[in-house]
């Protein structure tokens, strides 16, 4: 972390080796080989700054928040609310009370479906999704459909995995009340034009929820520039702890929504006749939250912003271009998802070899990749593959690691020749 001020000085400077030294796990070996971690889209590794923040929370500054009059409780509350402030600045949200801490991005979407959806959507209203959503942005809406009779519409992607904007426009009608889409596909890497999609949605009178899980680690995000009504992301993909997620919602929407769960911390007063709910965001934060998780997420935000999301993005784009060339040079390897401007995810198949066999062989070369449907089965159906191998690149990955992947894939081809 000490090196960061110097890193900040030159906009083009990106010392990936110095960054790697900040992540202790990257120095370990797996099956006797140096770890090559290419699964950050599932969950990213943690820098020492995050590990230290969590440790320090428990070792030096821990008590329950929003309760005690004593020093430690006040300190923990300050740290927790300080993390909320960091999230606000990170997303460029207008107000800190627009940031709700959740257990995960999944819980954030479920919160919106259960609270906003039940109150403001009615039978026959349409929710418009894209074909490349993660299950977490499909299933909550199906549950709501089954409960209150909304209808789900799905905007398709083309053969490269890019959204069919013509189809999106056509599906956007006066019946559309909510557009719920990912900013970046976890299975393909496709980046959706969310600014334009939100503008079109608002013109049609629909609200907009953006799933930013894959976007926030890879690009600067400004919820006001997008004009998102809701924006969700998870801590663990942003190099922070798991078990902590974020819901951003426009204040007037959050205020109009009923609570999601009832309990302590979300009320002002309780009697057996009636309870008065706390103001936002606390209305949505029943129960003792993941205090250390939020503080760890704050440290992760400090870490990536000190290095610079623009610089991380540039590094990952260059690496993605390099990896695409290397993989396409291997006989029998086919990339699934080649949308222009896509993020640092390479989904691919190896001819004649099931992705799980590829994953096992790569693992024995120390290379961690995801093999499967990536919680996006509709994407697999669209491209008519049962599963893919997915290599996802993070801020700490290198060309050397891509070379190791390419070499191991040639071994896969040899074994199955």
């Amino acid at each position: 972390m000490n090196a960061i001020p110097e890193r900040r000085a030159d906009v083009n400077f990106y010392d990936v080796e110095a960054i790697r030294r900040d992540f202790p796990i990257l120095s370990r070996t797996v099956h006797g080989k140096p770890l090559v971690f290419l699964d950050s889209a599932a969950s990213a590794q943690k820098p020492q700054a995050v590990i230290d923040a969590v440790t320090s929370c428990y070792a030096e500054e821990y008590a329950n928040i929003h309760r005690g009059v004593y020093f430690l409780s006040q300190l923990a509350t300050e740290k927790f609310e300080g993390a909320r402030k960091k999230v606000q600045r990170f997303l460029n949200a207008g107000e800190v009370r627009e940031i709700v801490f959740t257990r995960s991005a999944t819980e954030a979407i479920n919160l919106v479906a259960a609270s906003y959806g039940r109150k403001f959507l009615k039978r026959g209203d349409e929710v418009l999704l894209s074909e490349i959503e993660h299950h977490s942005n499909i299933v909550p809406w199906q549950m709501l459909r089954d409960e209150i009779g909304i209808e789900l519409k799905v905007a398709p992607v083309d053969e490269r995995g890019a959204l069919r904007m013509d189809r999106f426009r056509a599906l956007l009608t006066e019946r559309t009340k909510l557009v719920a889409v990912t900013q970046m596909s976890n299975a393909l890497g496709t980046v959706l034009p969310v600014v334009e999609m939100a503008r079109l949605a608002h013109e049609a009178g629909a609200r907009v929820l953006i799933d930013g899980c894959q976007a926030v680690p890879h690009m600067p995000v400004d919820v006001r520039a997008i004009d998102a009504d809701f924006y969700v992301f998870s801590g663990h993909k942003l190099y922070g702890p798991s078990g902590i997620g974020v819901l951003y919602g426009k204040a007037e929407l959050l205020e109009a929504m009923p609570p999601y769960q009832g309990g302590g911390d979300m009320i002002v007063s309780v009697s057996f006749e009636k309870s008065d709910y706390a103001p936002i965001p606390h209305k949505f934060e029943a129960g003792t939250p993941h205090i250390a998780g939020a503080i760890g997420l704050g440290a992760a935000i400090d870490y990536v912003t000190a290095i610079g999301l623009h610089r991380i993005s540039n590094h990952e784009h260059a690496l993605t271009t390099y990896a695409t060339e290397r993989l396409m040079g291997i006989d029998g390897v086919t990339l699934v998802g080649t949308a222009p401007g896509k993020g640092s995810i390479l989904s691919f198949t190896v001819e004649g070899v099931h992705p799980h066999d590829v994953g096992t062989i790569l693992d024995h070369h120390g290379i961690a990749v995801r093999a499967g449907h990536h919680c996006a089965q509709p994407v697999m159906d669209r491209f008519q593959v049962p599963a893919t191998v997915r290599a996802s690149l993070g801020m700490y990955n290198t060309e050397g690691e891509v070379d190791a992947l390419a070499a191991a894939l040639r071994k896969v081809r040899e074994i199955f020749a």
Partner: protein, 156 residues
């Protein structure tokens, strides 16, 4: 890397590429569908029973990883002519083999030749995530035997 060679031996790759007894038979007595949702392996098992409930024929269809396909292929070769009890015993031995370093001693005896042939899959025990790939066809075979006789299909 020796563990990897243990897993992807020639025999397994051969069975995976050229599965034996592959394809849906015209008639069968029992069938079951097996699915491993995590990795997408799918297998359908078709069983034809002969006199006294012995397995006259067993065939399969499916798609999946090399381990699941090779396991299904080997299984169909070994189960032909077995009684239901012999088939279950063989699965118990196989299950022990792919989950424990040494085991199966407490089980009823199985034909040593059969166990020897199944030994090629013993390497999966080094890969806990892959054990279910190897056992999926066997579980599906058991489910087929436990199922009602397939509708409208008879060997009589």
């Amino acid at each position: 890397m020796s563990e990897l060679r243990d897993l992807y031996q020639e025999v397994i790759l051969d069975h995976a590429k050229r599965p034996r007894n592959f394809g849906r038979p015209e008639r069968f007595d029992h069938e079951a569908h097996g699915h491993n949702p995590l990795c997408g392996d799918k297998v359908d098992i078709f069983v034809i029973l002969g006199e006294g409930g012995t397995v006259e024929d067993v065939r399969f269809e499916g798609r999946g990883c090399a381990i699941s396909m090779a396991s299904a292929s080997l299984m169909t070769e070994l189960l032909k002519g077995k009684t239901e009890t012999e088939a279950r015993t063989l699965f118990e031995h196989f299950h022990e083999m792919v989950t424990h370093e040494a085991g199966g001693d407490a089980l009823p005896d199985a034909a040593p030749d059969d166990l020897e042939r199944l030994e090629v899959l013993a390497g999966v025990r080094q890969f806990p995530m892959r054990v279910k790939c190897a056992t999926l066809p066997w579980h599906t075979f058991n489910a087929a035997l436990a199922s009602e006789r397939a509708d409208g299909v008879t060997t009589e």
